[in-house]
Amino acid sequence: MRLRARWIAIMVGVVLVAFGVVLAVQHRNEPSIPRLVQEHGPMPSFTVTTLAGAPLESSSLKGKTVVVNFFNSWCIPCQQEAPQLKAFYAEHKNEADFAMVGIVRDDETAAVRAYVDTQKLGWTIATDPNGSAALGFGTTGQPETYVIAPDGAAVCGSLGASSQADLDTWLAAARAGQECTS
Protein backbone atom coordinates (compact mmCIF):
# COMPACT_ATOMS: atom_id res chain seq x y z
CA MET A 1 0.00 0.00 0.00
CA ARG A 2 2.82 2.40 0.94
CA LEU A 3 4.65 1.52 -2.29
CA ARG A 4 1.55 2.31 -4.35
CA ALA A 5 1.12 5.67 -2.62
CA ARG A 6 4.75 6.46 -3.36
CA TRP A 7 4.25 5.64 -7.06
CA ILE A 8 1.16 7.84 -7.23
CA ALA A 9 3.08 10.70 -5.61
CA ILE A 10 5.94 10.25 -8.10
CA MET A 11 3.54 10.23 -11.06
CA VAL A 12 1.76 13.37 -9.85
CA GLY A 13 5.15 15.05 -9.36
CA VAL A 14 6.30 14.08 -12.87
CA VAL A 15 3.08 15.44 -14.42
CA LEU A 16 3.38 18.73 -12.50
CA VAL A 17 7.06 19.16 -13.45
CA ALA A 18 6.27 18.42 -17.13
CA PHE A 19 3.43 20.94 -17.06
CA GLY A 20 5.73 23.55 -15.51
CA VAL A 21 8.43 22.91 -18.14
CA VAL A 22 5.88 23.32 -20.97
CA LEU A 23 4.67 26.62 -19.48
CA ALA A 24 8.23 27.89 -18.94
CA VAL A 25 9.29 27.01 -22.51
CA GLN A 26 6.20 28.68 -23.95
CA HIS A 27 6.84 31.80 -21.89
CA ARG A 28 10.52 32.04 -22.87
CA ASN A 29 9.84 31.42 -26.55
CA GLU A 30 8.95 35.03 -27.38
CA PRO A 31 8.91 35.41 -31.16
CA SER A 32 10.82 38.18 -32.93
CA ILE A 33 8.92 37.66 -36.18
CA PRO A 34 5.37 39.03 -36.39
CA ARG A 35 2.63 36.43 -36.39
CA LEU A 36 1.32 37.65 -39.75
CA VAL A 37 4.76 37.01 -41.28
CA GLN A 38 5.12 33.62 -39.60
CA GLU A 39 1.85 32.58 -41.21
CA HIS A 40 2.52 34.39 -44.50
CA GLY A 41 -0.90 35.90 -44.12
CA PRO A 42 -2.31 38.36 -46.62
CA MET A 43 -1.79 42.06 -46.06
CA PRO A 44 -4.89 43.21 -44.17
CA SER A 45 -7.07 45.76 -45.86
CA PHE A 46 -6.92 49.16 -44.17
CA THR A 47 -7.48 52.82 -44.74
CA VAL A 48 -5.08 55.26 -43.13
CA THR A 49 -4.77 59.02 -43.43
CA THR A 50 -1.56 60.53 -44.78
CA LEU A 51 -0.07 63.56 -43.08
CA ALA A 52 -1.31 65.54 -46.11
CA GLY A 53 -4.82 64.50 -45.08
CA ALA A 54 -5.52 62.14 -47.97
CA PRO A 55 -6.88 58.63 -47.37
CA LEU A 56 -4.54 55.82 -48.30
CA GLU A 57 -6.22 52.52 -49.13
CA SER A 58 -4.27 49.29 -48.85
CA SER A 59 -5.84 48.26 -52.17
CA SER A 60 -3.82 51.01 -53.89
CA LEU A 61 -0.62 49.13 -52.98
CA LYS A 62 -1.61 45.89 -54.71
CA GLY A 63 0.96 44.41 -57.06
CA LYS A 64 3.87 46.25 -55.42
CA THR A 65 6.49 45.12 -52.97
CA VAL A 66 5.44 47.11 -49.93
CA VAL A 67 7.36 47.92 -46.77
CA VAL A 68 5.04 48.86 -43.91
CA ASN A 69 6.72 50.33 -40.83
CA PHE A 70 4.79 51.01 -37.61
CA PHE A 71 6.47 53.69 -35.53
CA ASN A 72 5.98 56.82 -33.47
CA SER A 73 7.96 59.92 -32.60
CA TRP A 74 8.70 59.14 -28.94
CA CYS A 75 9.89 55.55 -29.20
CA ILE A 76 13.67 55.36 -28.88
CA PRO A 77 14.14 52.21 -31.04
CA CYS A 78 12.08 53.98 -33.75
CA GLN A 79 14.44 56.95 -33.59
CA GLN A 80 17.45 54.61 -33.73
CA GLU A 81 15.92 52.80 -36.70
CA ALA A 82 15.17 55.97 -38.69
CA PRO A 83 18.65 56.40 -40.31
CA GLN A 84 18.53 52.77 -41.50
CA LEU A 85 15.07 53.27 -42.99
CA LYS A 86 16.18 56.49 -44.67
CA ALA A 87 19.20 54.81 -46.28
CA PHE A 88 17.03 51.89 -47.40
CA TYR A 89 14.38 54.20 -48.84
CA ALA A 90 16.97 56.32 -50.70
CA GLU A 91 18.30 53.14 -52.26
CA HIS A 92 14.92 51.91 -53.58
CA LYS A 93 12.55 54.87 -53.86
CA ASN A 94 12.85 55.12 -57.67
CA GLU A 95 12.02 51.46 -58.28
CA ALA A 96 8.62 51.18 -59.95
CA ASP A 97 7.34 48.21 -57.94
CA PHE A 98 8.46 49.61 -54.57
CA ALA A 99 6.28 51.35 -51.98
CA MET A 100 6.99 52.25 -48.38
CA VAL A 101 4.49 53.42 -45.80
CA GLY A 102 5.08 54.52 -42.25
CA ILE A 103 2.04 54.11 -40.01
CA VAL A 104 1.97 56.01 -36.73
CA ARG A 105 1.03 54.22 -33.52
CA ASP A 106 0.00 55.91 -30.31
CA ASP A 107 1.14 59.46 -31.02
CA GLU A 108 -0.12 62.99 -31.67
CA THR A 109 -0.23 64.12 -35.30
CA ALA A 110 1.56 67.40 -34.49
CA ALA A 111 4.41 65.53 -32.80
CA VAL A 112 4.67 63.19 -35.77
CA ARG A 113 4.77 66.09 -38.23
CA ALA A 114 7.62 67.68 -36.26
CA TYR A 115 9.46 64.34 -36.09
CA VAL A 116 9.06 63.69 -39.84
CA ASP A 117 10.34 67.20 -40.64
CA THR A 118 13.30 66.88 -38.29
CA GLN A 119 14.25 63.41 -39.50
CA LYS A 120 13.47 64.31 -43.14
CA LEU A 121 11.53 61.10 -43.77
CA GLY A 122 10.65 60.98 -47.45
CA TRP A 123 8.20 58.08 -47.66
CA THR A 124 4.46 58.21 -47.10
CA ILE A 125 3.60 58.67 -43.44
CA ALA A 126 0.04 58.05 -42.31
CA THR A 127 -1.93 58.06 -39.09
CA ASP A 128 -4.21 55.19 -38.13
CA PRO A 129 -7.04 57.03 -36.35
CA ASN A 130 -9.17 54.00 -35.47
CA GLY A 131 -6.28 51.55 -35.19
CA SER A 132 -7.65 49.35 -37.97
CA ALA A 133 -4.26 48.98 -39.68
CA ALA A 134 -2.48 48.13 -36.42
CA LEU A 135 -5.18 45.61 -35.48
CA GLY A 136 -5.16 44.15 -38.98
CA PHE A 137 -1.41 43.54 -38.79
CA GLY A 138 -1.72 42.41 -35.18
CA THR A 139 0.98 44.79 -33.96
CA THR A 140 2.20 44.52 -30.40
CA GLY A 141 4.25 47.70 -30.22
CA GLN A 142 6.64 49.76 -32.30
CA PRO A 143 8.74 49.70 -34.34
CA GLU A 144 7.44 46.78 -36.37
CA THR A 145 8.17 46.23 -40.03
CA TYR A 146 6.38 44.10 -42.60
CA VAL A 147 7.46 43.36 -46.15
CA ILE A 148 4.58 42.46 -48.43
CA ALA A 149 5.26 40.52 -51.63
CA PRO A 150 3.60 41.57 -54.91
CA ASP A 151 1.06 38.75 -54.44
CA GLY A 152 -0.07 40.41 -51.19
CA ALA A 153 1.47 37.96 -48.70
CA ALA A 154 3.41 39.24 -45.69
CA VAL A 155 6.65 37.33 -46.23
CA CYS A 156 9.23 39.08 -44.07
CA GLY A 157 9.42 41.44 -41.14
CA SER A 158 10.37 41.86 -37.54
CA LEU A 159 9.21 43.04 -34.15
CA GLY A 160 11.68 45.73 -33.14
CA ALA A 161 14.13 47.86 -35.09
CA SER A 162 15.31 46.70 -38.51
CA SER A 163 18.62 47.42 -40.18
CA GLN A 164 19.19 48.47 -43.79
CA ALA A 165 20.80 45.07 -44.46
CA ASP A 166 17.71 43.27 -43.07
CA LEU A 167 15.42 45.38 -45.21
CA ASP A 168 17.50 44.80 -48.37
CA THR A 169 17.45 41.05 -47.75
CA TRP A 170 13.70 41.03 -47.11
CA LEU A 171 12.94 43.12 -50.18
CA ALA A 172 14.98 40.82 -52.41
CA ALA A 173 13.28 37.77 -50.91
CA ALA A 174 9.81 39.25 -51.38
CA ARG A 175 10.53 40.08 -55.00
CA ALA A 176 11.89 36.59 -55.62
CA GLY A 177 8.82 35.00 -54.04
CA GLN A 178 10.92 33.55 -51.22
CA GLU A 179 10.18 33.33 -47.52
CA CYS A 180 12.35 34.88 -44.87
CA THR A 181 13.66 32.64 -42.18
CA SER A 182 14.96 35.36 -39.87
Partner: protein
Protein backbone atom coordinates in the same frame (compact mmCIF):
# COMPACT_ATOMS: atom_id res chain seq x y z
CA UNK B 1 -60.58 18.07 6.24
CA UNK B 2 -57.31 19.28 4.83
CA UNK B 3 -56.44 18.49 1.22
CA UNK B 4 -52.79 17.98 2.15
CA UNK B 5 -51.51 16.73 5.44
CA UNK B 6 -49.91 19.52 7.51
CA UNK B 7 -46.67 17.66 7.85
CA UNK B 8 -46.03 18.14 4.11
CA UNK B 9 -46.43 21.93 4.20
CA UNK B 10 -42.75 22.74 4.93
CA UNK B 11 -41.66 20.42 2.13
CA UNK B 12 -44.09 22.01 -0.32
CA UNK B 13 -42.86 25.47 0.72
CA UNK B 14 -39.28 24.33 0.21
CA UNK B 15 -40.05 23.01 -3.29
CA UNK B 16 -41.86 26.28 -4.22
CA UNK B 17 -38.99 28.47 -2.94
CA UNK B 18 -36.35 26.31 -4.69
CA UNK B 19 -38.32 26.40 -7.96
CA UNK B 20 -38.74 30.18 -7.83
CA UNK B 21 -35.04 30.62 -7.02
CA UNK B 22 -34.02 28.39 -9.94
CA UNK B 23 -36.29 30.28 -12.35
CA UNK B 24 -34.95 33.66 -11.16
CA UNK B 25 -31.33 32.48 -11.48
CA UNK B 26 -31.99 30.96 -14.92
CA UNK B 27 -33.67 34.12 -16.21
CA UNK B 28 -31.11 36.52 -14.75
CA UNK B 29 -28.10 34.51 -15.93
CA UNK B 30 -29.28 34.54 -19.54
CA UNK B 31 -26.76 36.75 -21.32
CA UNK B 32 -28.01 39.97 -22.83
CA UNK B 33 -27.56 40.31 -26.58
CA UNK B 34 -27.50 44.10 -26.68
CA UNK B 35 -24.45 45.53 -28.51
CA UNK B 36 -23.32 47.21 -25.29
CA UNK B 37 -23.52 43.97 -23.30
CA UNK B 38 -21.74 42.01 -26.04
CA UNK B 39 -18.96 44.60 -26.20
CA UNK B 40 -18.50 44.50 -22.44
CA UNK B 41 -18.49 40.70 -22.41
CA UNK B 42 -15.99 40.42 -25.27
CA UNK B 43 -13.61 43.01 -23.81
CA UNK B 44 -13.54 40.94 -20.60
CA UNK B 45 -12.98 37.70 -22.54
CA UNK B 46 -10.05 39.03 -24.56
CA UNK B 47 -6.58 39.50 -23.09
CA UNK B 48 -4.62 42.68 -23.70
CA UNK B 49 -2.14 41.59 -26.41
CA UNK B 50 0.81 43.44 -24.89
CA UNK B 51 0.16 43.05 -21.15
CA UNK B 52 0.46 40.24 -18.64
CA UNK B 53 -2.78 38.97 -17.16
CA UNK B 54 -4.98 41.94 -18.01
CA UNK B 55 -8.14 41.91 -20.04
CA UNK B 56 -8.76 44.33 -22.87
CA UNK B 57 -11.40 45.93 -20.64
CA UNK B 58 -8.90 46.60 -17.83
CA UNK B 59 -5.87 47.64 -19.85
CA UNK B 60 -4.77 51.14 -20.84
CA UNK B 61 -2.45 49.91 -23.63
CA UNK B 62 -3.15 51.47 -27.03
CA UNK B 63 -3.70 48.00 -28.51
CA UNK B 64 -6.47 47.38 -25.96
CA UNK B 65 -7.99 50.80 -26.64
CA UNK B 66 -8.02 49.96 -30.36
CA UNK B 67 -9.72 46.63 -29.68
CA UNK B 68 -12.30 48.30 -27.41
CA UNK B 69 -13.09 50.71 -30.24
CA UNK B 70 -13.02 47.97 -32.89
CA UNK B 71 -15.44 45.53 -31.25
CA UNK B 72 -18.54 47.80 -31.51
CA UNK B 73 -17.71 48.39 -35.19
CA UNK B 74 -17.60 44.64 -35.80
CA UNK B 75 -20.86 44.13 -33.90
CA UNK B 76 -22.49 46.87 -36.00
CA UNK B 77 -21.18 45.13 -39.11
CA UNK B 78 -23.16 42.05 -38.08
CA UNK B 79 -20.33 39.82 -36.87
CA UNK B 80 -21.12 37.22 -34.23
CA UNK B 81 -19.18 36.98 -30.96
CA UNK B 82 -17.41 33.89 -32.27
CA UNK B 83 -16.44 35.64 -35.51
CA UNK B 84 -15.01 38.53 -33.50
CA UNK B 85 -13.06 36.15 -31.23
CA UNK B 86 -11.78 34.26 -34.28
CA UNK B 87 -10.62 37.50 -35.88
CA UNK B 88 -8.50 38.44 -32.87
CA UNK B 89 -7.15 34.89 -32.56
CA UNK B 90 -6.09 35.12 -36.22
CA UNK B 91 -4.20 38.34 -35.42
CA UNK B 92 -2.71 37.60 -32.00
CA UNK B 93 -3.01 33.85 -31.51
CA UNK B 94 -4.93 31.90 -28.89
CA UNK B 95 -3.17 33.68 -26.05
CA UNK B 96 -5.61 36.53 -26.62
CA UNK B 97 -8.42 34.37 -25.23
CA UNK B 98 -8.66 34.60 -21.45
CA UNK B 99 -10.94 31.55 -21.45
CA UNK B 100 -8.95 28.61 -22.81
CA UNK B 101 -10.32 26.85 -25.88
CA UNK B 102 -11.71 23.33 -25.56
CA UNK B 103 -9.25 21.91 -28.06
CA UNK B 104 -5.48 21.49 -28.37
CA UNK B 105 -3.36 22.77 -25.49
CA UNK B 106 -6.36 24.69 -24.11
CA UNK B 107 -8.01 21.33 -23.42
CA UNK B 108 -5.42 20.72 -20.66
CA UNK B 109 -6.77 23.69 -18.71
CA UNK B 110 -10.25 22.12 -18.75
CA UNK B 111 -9.25 18.48 -18.30
CA UNK B 112 -6.60 18.84 -15.58
CA UNK B 113 -8.95 20.17 -12.85
CA UNK B 114 -11.67 17.70 -13.90
CA UNK B 115 -9.27 14.76 -13.68
CA UNK B 116 -7.92 16.06 -10.34
CA UNK B 117 -11.45 16.34 -8.92
CA UNK B 118 -12.34 12.84 -10.16
CA UNK B 119 -9.17 11.44 -8.57
CA UNK B 120 -9.98 13.24 -5.32
CA UNK B 121 -13.56 11.89 -5.33
CA UNK B 122 -12.38 8.34 -6.02
CA UNK B 123 -9.76 8.66 -3.29
CA UNK B 124 -12.34 9.99 -0.84
CA UNK B 125 -14.79 7.23 -1.75
CA UNK B 126 -12.26 4.46 -1.15
CA UNK B 127 -10.92 6.10 2.00
CA UNK B 128 -14.43 6.43 3.48
CA UNK B 129 -15.23 2.83 2.59
CA UNK B 130 -12.09 1.61 4.29
CA UNK B 131 -12.69 3.75 7.36
CA UNK B 132 -16.27 2.51 7.66
CA UNK B 133 -15.15 -1.12 7.53
CA UNK B 134 -12.40 -0.91 10.11
CA UNK B 135 -13.70 0.02 13.58
CA UNK B 136 -11.61 2.68 15.24
CA UNK B 137 -11.46 0.76 18.56
CA UNK B 138 -11.85 -2.96 18.85
CA UNK B 139 -14.19 -4.01 21.72
CA UNK B 140 -12.35 -5.82 24.51
CA UNK B 141 -13.96 -8.73 26.43
CA UNK B 142 -14.44 -6.29 29.34
CA UNK B 143 -16.37 -3.91 27.08
CA UNK B 144 -18.58 -6.74 25.86
CA UNK B 145 -19.20 -7.81 29.48
CA UNK B 146 -20.30 -4.25 30.38
CA UNK B 147 -22.71 -4.19 27.44
CA UNK B 148 -24.08 -7.65 28.40
CA UNK B 149 -24.67 -6.51 32.00
CA UNK B 150 -26.36 -3.30 30.88
CA UNK B 151 -28.67 -5.14 28.54
CA UNK B 152 -29.53 -7.71 31.20
CA UNK B 153 -30.39 -4.91 33.67
CA UNK B 154 -32.55 -3.22 31.09
CA UNK B 155 -34.38 -6.46 30.29
CA UNK B 156 -35.02 -7.08 34.00
CA UNK B 157 -36.50 -3.62 34.42
CA UNK B 158 -38.74 -4.08 31.42
CA UNK B 159 -39.93 -7.51 32.62
CA UNK B 160 -40.35 -6.45 36.25
Amino acid sequence: MHLVNRKWWPWIALVVVATVALVVVAVRSRPSHSPQARTTRLTHELACPVCEGQSVADSNAPESADIRADIPRRISAGQSDQQIRDYYVSRYGERILLTPTNSGVGLIAWLLPTVAILFALFGLFFALRRWSRVPRLAATPEDEAIVRRARATADEKLDG
